[in-house]
């Protein structure tokens, strides 16, 4: 069954057309990257899929249900852009992850604390559980936010620029980690990203968006030069980064990858 399906979705904010007649679907356990220039409507598309905002026209379905209906019975994970987080709130790393579980009924506090520990282990941040969230680096905060999004092992995960703050040496392992979540845990993942050069090695599908959906295909079928031309109006040399084994030594996701991927 398709995990996510959008049919002829358009979104307007006043006179501004943010998304124009977008139709896209994604199978269960697939990892989709949405790429496009600034102001292309990528975050809007993510919010439409997550049911945070409603489309002006068209249909959205998560596992065949309207997002609001789906979310009554199921959890989804959502990673917001870092600049939209209020780090003025005095929270520890553990509190930030716990917040994502606090409103779930029917699970005891002890069980929730166990889920927090497990999620932090998965992103290599457990030893910093008692640290103050606001005092972490950008990359560390991002890992904590991902722990929060996956703490309840949602069936669908929406990530808005998840590699922000993750240094280039660790990006490879980071995307491996997401790929692992999709393939081994059957979690459907949609992520908005600017890392055009890196993602094609890890994601199943790529959607190229600039208010309209220009290309949506399997990653291996997409000619990135053509995509760049359509999205940005010009081509450029895409530089990819492949870390050597030494750089992986300090990888925050290393433990998780060792267990899951090898």
């Amino acid at each position: 069954m398709e995990a996510i399906k959008l049919e002829s979705v358009s979104v307007s904010f006043g006179n501004f057309l943010a998304l124009d007649n977008v139709s896209i679907s994604l199978g269960t356990g697939k990892l989709l990257a949405v790429v496009g220039p600034n102001g292309a409507g990528k975050t809007t598309l993510l919010k439409i899929m997550a049911g945070i905002i409603k489309p002006s026209s068209g249909k959205v379905a998560l596992f065949g249900m309207m997002p609001a209906e789906y979310r009554k019975k199921n959890r989804i994970g959502y990673l917001a852009q870092q600049q939209n987080l209020n780090i003025n709130l005095p929270l520890t790393v553990g509190d930030v992850v716990y917040m994502n579980l606090a409103e779930i009924k029917g699970i005891g506090k002890n069980k929730k604390r166990g889920m927090v520990d497990e999620a932090l282990h998965n992103v290599g941040m457990h030893e910093k559980k008692e640290k103050i969230f606001a005092h972490l680096s950008g990359g560390e905060r991002q890992r904590v936010m991902i722990a929060g999004a996956i703490a309840n092992m949602p069936k669908i995960l929406f990530l808005d620029e998840p590699s922000t703050g993750v240094d280039i040496v660790n990006q490879d392992d980071f995307y491996n980690f997401l790929s692992h979540l999709a393939r081994k845990h059957n979690i459907t993942i949609v992520m908005v990203t600017h890392d055009i050069g890196v993602i094609s090695d890890y994601v199943d599908e790529i959607a190229c968006l600039n208010r309209k959906l220009y290309i949506h295909d399997k990653a291996e079928n997409i000619d990135m030069d053509e995509a760049m031309q359509k999205l940005y109006g010009k081509t450029g040399k895409i530089i990819t980064h492949k870390p050597d084994n030494k750089s992986c030594f300090r990888c925050p996701f290393k433990d998780f990858n060792l267990k899951g991927l090898q």
């Binding site: 917001a80 917040m99 606090a102 005092h135």
Partner: protein
């Protein structure tokens, strides 16, 4: 030895202790949500309730309560209607102040009352007021306890709150209603002008000393309690307006703790 206190002193001490509970917990969210000036606007909106009570006659506290809750909700709705927080706060502030001044200017014998409402007067507290304060404190604490993580989530990220099944609109409206409720019970004691100090300074003091929410809320309560008791005592000793005395005490605590603030 049996200590005989004047009834108004007993009432004031009870009010001092009670009011510190809701003020301190709401202060935590006011400061972390960065809506300090909204509390100033809500407290001034309470002036509208005072104006109606003076103009039409009747028991002041329920009228101010209804008025300040309504003003808070209108402000929250304006913010949700995509007006900026800044504009919403300014619109409520100026429109209700204008309305209140007109209403009071056409009322008779207002001059003696107004100063007490603006700056607080502990002699105005009645036994009925204390009963209302008790009920409001219980209501606020229970509602905050039940909705604590909803308030935390909406403060941290509205998108994440939404995807966790929290209605951001309802939660924000509930929070603003609580603000209106709490402001209205403090007006007689602390006054319209300075009641907002107890919704801003206690958590600001606490955030100077800690970065963990449990400690911040606890210190915020201690700070609020110290300010109300200490401020009221200074007010008696030196015969100065209670509101100004409490706000000065709270401000003093802030500046004393400021050097301890961690970056």
């Amino acid at each position: 030895m049996i200590l005989h206190l004047e009834p108004f002193i007993t009432r004031t001490v009870i009010a001092d202790i009670l009011i510190a509970f809701p003020m301190s917990i709401l202060s935590f969210f006011v400061v972390t949500k960065r809506i300090s000036f909204a509390t100033v606007s809500i407290s001034h909106a309470t002036f509208g309730g005072v104006a109606i009570a003076i103009f039409a006659g009747g028991y002041l506290m329920p009228i101010t309560m209804l008025f300040s809750i309504s003003a808070s909700l209108v402000m929250a709705l304006l913010i949700q209607a995509k007006l900026t927080k800044d504009s919403s706060i300014g619109i409520i502030f100026s429109s209700i102040m204008a309305f209140s001044v007109i209403l009071i200017s056409i009322s008779k014998g207002y001059q003696t009352d107004i100063t007490s409402y603006l700056f607080g007067n502990i002699l105005m507290l009645t036994n009925s007021d204390i009963k209302i304060i008790v009920v409001v404190c219980i209501v606020v604490l229970v509602v905050v306890y039940k909705n604590f993580w909803k308030f935390m989530l909406t403060t941290f990220s509205e998108s994440i709150a939404d995807t966790n099944g929290v209605s951001v609109k309802k939660t924000n409206l509930l929070f603003f209603a609580l603000l209106g409720l709490v402001v209205s019970i403090g007006v007689k004691m602390i006054g319209i002008i300075l009641i907002s100090s107890l919704l801003i300074l206690p958590a600001s003091v606490a955030l100077n000393l800690s970065s963990r929410y449990r400690q911040v809320i606890t210190i915020s309560f201690i700070s609020a309690l110290t300010s109300t008791i200490g401020g009221t005592w200074i007010s008696w000793e030196f015969d100065i307006p209670t509101g100004a005395s409490i706000a000065s005490f709270a401000s003093l605590l802030f500046f004393i703790t400021l050097p301890f603030k961690k970056q």
